[in-house]
Symmetry: C2
Subunit: 355 residues, 2 copies
């Protein structure tokens, strides 16, 4: 089999886990699935089941580069690619693919978001291996998660005919549906959640970008032609001019030879404190608590606080209470999405040091 690389997309600066997550400490750097391991470190650890550590590339922002390197001490420093500005996933994947192509144009790549949770890691490793195999045949491959509910928050991919063991032709990508369509998708059984994972030969992706995003393609060709020691400076120079476009819109929806591997390995995109609560270890009252918490008639709560700080809950249900050194959040679990309203309000009132 061809040499396999992993490209971890770790540039996110999500606001849905404030006050735990901050601009300098975004979701992927937090141990949101429990334990001590950050989501990013978990992603890299899982990736090393199909990729050598020296073949794991992590794309992040310049702002997060130092923290990202610190979170991944086992990776070579040059494997952390720092984008000078954020330009969505197409430039990110393009740059990383050019880095891989420079080493081995026939290598296959697994592109993985840094901030997802996987319950069944063995099943996951099998799916990665299968998707990389399919990518080695020349297709661009995605992993589609078998839906467990009529979710309206995700994009979908429709499965076509089987083209191999556990590999299907992808018929089309569909944007986030309304409730009615989501229910139809669930009933049909052929629609999968778009996981944001992509697999391809480096040369295949670069060709697809040259065809469908020619401006980006030309810039990547200049990067490929440059001496390795000039790459960082050139990236700083060209990145601001790159198009802000996602790999889905810019490439996946336009290429014809897309395959999809349907999967069911306990995937969660950990989109809010509510999903963190769902994944977390919980006591007999369904509370997810730090050791120092104390509850009386409290249930269904999600509590986080600095080590040793006592959080006492009395007579409350389904509440999120998150304490940090400089801020506390209290809201009902079913309003966990409204954390972003808090962040927006802090931005409006100019509380920059809290963001």
């Amino acid at each position: 089999m061809a040499r396999a690389f992993t490209i971890v997309m770790a540039g996110g600066s999500g606001t849905r886990f404030w006050p735990l997550s901050r601009a300098d400490r975004p979701k992927q750097l937090l141990p949101l699935a429990g334990g001590e391991e950050s989501l990013l470190a978990s992603t890299v650890r899982r990736a090393t089941r199909v990729t050598a550590p020296e073949d794991v590339l992590v794309v992040t922002s310049e702002r997060l580069a130092a923290a990202t390197r610190a979170a991944l001490p086992s990776l070579p420093a040059q494997n952390i690619l720092a984008e000078p500005v954020g330009r969505n996933t197409a430039p990110c994947i393009g740059w990383a693919s050019s880095r891989v192509a420079r080493i081995d144009p026939d290598a296959v790549c697994a592109v993985l978001p840094a901030d997802h949770h996987i319950a069944d890691e063995d099943g996951y490793a099998e799916v990665l291996a299968r998707a990389l195999d399919a990518a080695a045949q020349g297709d661009i491959v995605t992993v589609g998660i078998r839906p467990s509910r009529p979710e309206t928050g995700y994009g979908y991919v429709e499965m076509g005919e089987a083209i191999g063991e556990g590999v299907h032709r992808a018929r089309r990508f569909v944007e986030k549906p309304n409730r009615q369509r989501a229910e139809q998708f669930l009933a049909a059984g052929t629609f999968l959640w778009n996981s944001g994972m992509f697999f391809f030969r480096a040369g295949t992706m670069l060709d697809a970008i040259r065809t469908h995003l020619p401006g980006l393609g030309q810039t990547l060709d200049r990067l490929l032609a440059a001496a390795p020691e000039d790459e960082a400076e050139m990236v700083r120079e060209v990145y601001p001019g790159l198009p802000d476009v996602s790999i889905d819109h810019g490439v996946m929806e336009k290429v014809s030879d897309v395959a999809v591997v349907p999967a069911d390995f306990g995937w969660s995109d950990l989109g809010s404190f509510a999903s963190a609560w769902e994944l977390a270890a919980r006591d007999s009252d369904d509370n997810s608590l730090p050791l120092s918490a104390l509850t009386i008639d409290a249930s269904g709560c999600f509590v986080r606080a600095p080590a040793g700080k006592v959080v006492a809950l009395v007579g409350v249900t389904d509440l999120v209470v998150v304490d940090t050194e400089d801020a506390i959040l209290v809201l009902p679990r079913d309003r966990a999405q409204d954390v972003k309203k808090v962040v927006a309000a802090l931005q409006r009132r100019g509380d920059e040091e809290l963001l």
Copy 2:
């Protein structure tokens, strides 16, 4: 008029304001009525409207003596009387009365709890003056608060005939009633809440103690006979042997010449975070918040946090959220009384440093 002393009872170590209140920082040392002034400092400030500052005595525990002196820098240090062990209100008032009698046996005394809130301070000063005048005639006088609701948490005093302008004979003291009796008391119009404030000539109180609590009386006579420089050592020696009895049970219910001054000066005993919320300044959503708080769809909440700490509340109603350096409390306002359950649980699990 006779020289007037104030005796502030400040030995309390209440647990109903945890985590703000601690064994070393009890309720009376906190600014629970808003602003910066502790309840104790407010009590002393109000007392100086009828008493010179050098004639304000404050009885507290040895543990709290230093913090109490620090909270009252305008009082002479020797005016802080430190009880080596707590022995309820009769020994406390007895000791302070002996101190006053040593200076001037004809002086009148106002005994005031340290941790109440008074909304109408002018009305309060008038009542104190009236009660001190009545006490100068030789009665033991109490202040009775006109009830505004059928409260079952307080003792009552029944008013008899008027014996002067705004002064009545006290017919009897009644323990905390059940709901039905409390409603009868409210309807009758002659029952007042026992405020725990007492007024008397020092010699009158000492005589009453000699009659009704002769053991305590003998000890107080030994204290009176001792040289002033020996008082502290003698107190430390005799206090552990004193009876643990309240002034109500030990004296007030037994003496015949008790007068009561009915009053209505916006009194609150600040018994819980719920009463603190009632007294506090609130925004248009009925939230009592620190400046740094941020609310979205939140109402009726009581929030306290260290300066600068941001407390963000989303979609919660009638909640108490109190943050301190080492502990947070979250509970519904109508369960504010259950704070003591939290304190009991911390005691059980041995978290002494949090108490």
